[in-house]
Symmetry: C2
Subunit: 160 residues, 2 copies
């Protein structure tokens, strides 16, 4: 079956947290993740890019309603924590996204045409997700919807 | 249905590329992604974490067989490109991974116990993927397999 985009999903109930400049050595990510799990805080996205000079950042997105607990938990483990509640997660959902060439590019181009900055990116075979400013969320949803010529019935407007 | 891990997947045929210190403004990611799509190079993971001081890095993983073409393409767009062929992608695959608290922590702990460094992370509701050194790949697969008490019949050993 040809790769295809089936829908667009927007989640405005997201907060981004990041722990900054943590040592790039085994056990660090596990300890941070476990401290959040021990408090029963579910994580939506976990994003970590390349390390540099022996340190790295680990970014998460959580439900905004969990932000105080999550922030407190991370601060207790001695981490420098950045919190940003004004984000939204915009995703395209489909099949064969990894093999399909240019699907992510098309999504990003739709955002670029409206001057919407892409702050974070994570992908899988069935989903390309971006973190953008919450203030641009609905406009971004419409832009990507149009870019993939999806009619109303194919929209998955809000994730949980 | 309770969240659960169904299997572990290891892909050793991965190369990581990163474009470094690109301007954090609309259109940058789109242009880079389009240049790779125009050459017909499929991307597996795309990872971008938080920007800092007006710049960001964008990391990708591709099939190692596409590395020369991808590197050349990115260099032609004027980017500083980092290439690392000695990586492997290890993933746990399941359902309800985002809501399940501690699944990623458990995977990361299994790697930490064997002193395996986690270089990159990206997650979705059905998958937690890490980039690790290729030299530790098989050991990492076994460690995570054991951590989730998966017997041999549930293994999804190699992605494409
Ligand atoms: C930074 C963090 O991911 C570290 N590399 C670890 O393996 O835990
Ligand atoms: C860095 C890059 O992702 C940029 N923020 C863009 O929107 O294209």
């Amino acid at each position: 079956e040809a790769p295809s985009v089936r829908g667009v999903a927007l989640d405005q109930n997201q907060t981004r947290l990041a722990v900054l400049n943590v040592p790039d050595r085994p056990g660090v990510a596990a300890q941070i993740l476990q401290s959040l799990a021990d408090k029963g805080i579910p994580l939506d996205m976990i994003i970590q890019s390349e390390p540099a000079q022996g340190v790295n950042n680990i970014a998460f997105t959580i439900k905004t309603t969990d932000r105080y607990e999550a922030e407190r938990t991370l601060q207790q483990t001695g981490q420098a924590v950045m919190v940003d509640t004004d984000v939204a997660k915009l995703s395209i959902v489909g099949l064969g996204m990894a093999q399909a060439k240019g699907i992510a590019a098309r999504m990003f181009q739709a955002l670029a045409e409206r001057d919407i900055n892409i702050e974070m990116i994570a992908t899988s075979e069935i989903k390309v997700s971006c973190i953008i400013r919450q203030s641009r969320a609905v406009e971004a949803l419409q832009a990507v919807h149009q870019a993939f010529a999806l009619n109303g019935s194919q929209e998955i407007p809000i994730e949980r």
